[in-house]
């Protein structure tokens, strides 16, 4: 993925995009589009640090730029930083692009970067990535365009972490975010939280020739049906998050297309390991064999999913371990394990909610198969509102919904490390924790891959979660829009569509 030294060659990224550009024609400048996201509320923000949902991320990437950007293969490519280098994965030297201007005309300097990175550690800022920023021991200006970032411990993933929307660069000393002054492809024209964001082309954007559109209006239509209707009626030109059930309608329209982005997003069955029933290893294995992955992929996601194997690293991740044999739906085996656990006769409630994508239907399928082998599951459907704070992980059997994170390390440290607050199943393994640290410290790519491969095995074998499929992200757009390519971190190019798309005449 990233070589230790000089990992961000500006040439490499340019070379990668060129063939794609040739395929889809020459970009055209001009035009205006309206884009519909899912979320709009009074909490909508212009402060990158506070970005907490897909609409915030889109807004941030329209207005601001990060030090790095994430490409379709989950690699870091140069952004405001021309290079990011390290010898030990602890001290990183960031060299900034020359001649970048903020929207108010001020030039980008090392001071802006130091301020932008360190503000996340200040509790008063209320940053969503405060926990990640705790590993920044310090940042200092080395030259007008050079910053040294020092970590508390080694972390080889810094370049890709800095591509997160929250780490976008703001002006030194900026505290007032009622306006947006970034270096991004678009300049704020008007912003009404919960209603709309309108941005216009930044003529001084640091990527020559980009962006292509004159104006973008970002609104939100929370109801999926209304969102698809708005696309089909031509009121919006692009929508994020089309449900698999609506794909047919969009495709039937001669003027609209669907983009499928394969991602590492999953809805998983969470079996609490601190509970006597769901913590029984045979019970866990039995349940994992009861997941009808093919049916879930075919019936619930209409094929827009990738079969998963009860471990969280998707085939898109460079560290994915293809060597783990696929666990199949096997009621006989499930019955064998459940019998051995002595828990076959027990009656268990499963908590499902529309909050965890498709968990209601997954629960029903599971209940059906369980009943056939003599395990009684009661499906408790609870509302979305409050599900994450009151039900998820708080009962023996619940469903979770985890987004693709940019790195393997983050997936493991957020959801599987013994001490992680979101270790869904409460699965504890000292060996796993040790290997996580080891992988961070090693400078040998092959060894790192081997360690991560083994960790995937461990979760597959003994972890307390069952992951049936990785869910594809589906976006709908007007046929005239060109330049879209999948980026697994989120819909609409990992929320960065703004600078890439153009409107064909």
């Amino acid at each position: 993925m990233l070589s230790r030294r000089g990992l961000l060659g500006g040439m490499a990224a340019g070379a990668m995009l060129a063939p794609a550009d040739q395929l889809i024609g020459k970009p055209r400048t001009g035009g205006r589009i309206r884009v519909a996201g899912i979320v709009a509320s009074t909490a909508d923000t212009l402060d990158p640090a506070k970005g907490g949902n897909s609409s915030d991320y889109m807004r941030i990437f329209l207005l601001y730029s990060g030090l790095t950007q994430c490409d379709g293969a989950l690699r870091a490519t140069p952004g405001l930083a021309e290079t990011i280098e390290t010898d030990d994965n602890i001290v990183w030297t960031i060299r900034l692009r020359r001649g970048v201007q903020f929207h108010n005309g001020k030039s980008l300097t090392a001071d802006d970067v130091v301020y932008s990175l360190l503000r996340h550690k200040d509790a008063r800022v209320g940053s969503k990535v405060k926990a990640v920023a705790e590993q920044f021991a310090g940042a200092r200006r080395v030259g007008p365009l050079e910053v040294e970032l020092r970590l508390t411990g080694p972390n080889p993933d810094i370049p890709i972490i800095l591509a997160q929307p929250q780490f976008a660069i703001v002006e030194n000393g900026r505290r007032d975010f009622s306006v947006a002054n970034g270096t991004g492809p678009f300049i704020l024209k008007s912003f009404a939280p919960g209603i709309r964001t309108i941005v216009r082309r930044n003529p001084n954007y640091w990527k020559p020739g980009k962006p292509y559109l004159d104006e973008i209006e970002l609104i939100a239509i929370p109801d999926e049906l209304s969102r698809v209707n708005a696309l089909l009626s031509g009121d919006v030109q692009m929508v994020i998050a089309v449900s698999p059930g609506s794909v047919k309608r969009v495709k039937a329209s001669s003027s609209h297309l669907i983009m499928e982005t394969k991602s590492g997003l999953y809805t998983d069955l969470v079996m609490r390991q601190d509970h006597p029933v769901t913590g029984n290893p045979d019970f866990v294995l039995g349940m994992k064999h009861l997941l009808d992955r093919d049916l879930i992929k075919r019936a619930l996601f209409r094929g827009y999913a990738t079969i998963a194997n009860d471990q969280p690293i998707s085939p898109l991740d460079p560290y994915f371990n293809p060597g783990i044999p696929q666990r199949a739906f096997d009621p006989e085996k499930a019955k064998f394990y459940l019998k051995r656990s002595g828990l076959l006769g027990t009656r268990l409630p499963v908590y499902v909610s529309p909050a965890a994508t498709m968990s209601v239907d997954m629960g029903s399928i599971l209940q059906e198969h369980a009943a056939q082998i003599g395990l009684k599951l009661a499906i408790n459907r609870v509302p979305s509102d409050g599900y994450w704070s009151t039900h998820w992980m708080r009962h023996p059997l619940t469903f979770g919904n985890i987004n693709q994170r940019p790195t393997t390390d983050l997936m493991f440290s957020l959801f599987f490390q013994s001490k992680a607050t979101e270790n869904e199943a409460g699965w504890k393994s000292a060996k796993f924790d040790k290997m996580l640290i080891e992988a961070r410290q090693t400078r040998d790519q092959a060894l790192r891959k081997a360690i991560y491969g083994e960790m995937q095995w461990m979760i597959h074998r003994t972890g307390g979660i069952g992951i049936p499929v990785f869910i594809s992200l589906l976006d709908g757009y007007d046929r005239r829009i060109r330049g879209l390519q999948p980026v697994p971190l989120g819909g609409l190019m990992g929320y960065t569509f703004g600078e890439h798309v153009w409107l064909d005449a």
């Binding site: 519909a36 209320g126 109801d223 009121d235």
Partner: protein
Amino acid sequence: MSGASPVSRWRGPARLVAKRTGLALVTLVLVSAVIFTISGLLPGDAAQEVLGQGATPEQIAALRHEMGLDRPAVVRYFEWLRGIAIGDPGQSLVANKPVADIISERLPNTLILAGLTTLFSVPIAFLVGIASAVTRGQATDRALNIMTLAMVALPEFLVATIAVLVFSVKLLWLPSITIVPQDPTLGEFLRAYAMPVMVLGVGVIAQLGRMIRAAIIAELDRPYVEMARLKGVSPRRLIFRHVLPNAVGPIVNSMALSLSYLFGGAIIVETIFSYPGLASLMVNAVTSRDMPLLQACAMLFCATYLLLVLIADTVAILANPRLRQG
């Protein structure tokens, strides 16, 4: 009545209206306690919602303290009530703006939608109600009855969805979402509002139309109508001069109910058409646990409802000679 001086003539109704106003205020205070209690029962709070799933307990406790959520509920209640009484509903916990600012941004939207719907539906409802009442039992009446009953029975989301599929997706006549451009022309303005007003109008016309029909029919059976007919009063004059003034009480009452529904209950229409009104703002406040905003919205809806009912009562009192005398 005829012999009373002008002052004493109004004393009765004035006392009645004053009594109703007093009752409305007491209701409002009781409602405030209910709103505060119920919103306190919601699982989780703003601190948790703001910080998200990954927050540590210490972070949440710190923010909760900063938001003042760690003080006793009774203290918070009276402080909030005092604020409401002097017209300051406090600071939004999520948006970091005064609640009054947020509401004043959305209030015009709701008023425009409610106003347009009223302008559109009330005349039609009167037409339907009167036409139906005067042709009671005949074909016109039966046809109108079937129509209004069907309209009452159809859930709003179904009407809205079908309207969108037909007028927006298939015919491409009207927008499927309500986005009013800045400085719209009259055409743009009407086009933007056509769908939500139509959908809201369906329910209002049907209900109000049926109420008007019932009220007029009730009057038509009274002896004075027969008397007027015998005296040779024309049918039009009979309805507008004699019947309607007497039927105004129940009609105004059901109008008040329809209006208060348009004010706070348009949530389905606001959701489907993605229209930034007060109802969706309140739902927003529930999901983000922004209590000051939620409570302010709830109070506003209750106050409007009580005000409309009070106005309806007052009109009924003034229109009815027996009540007028207190």
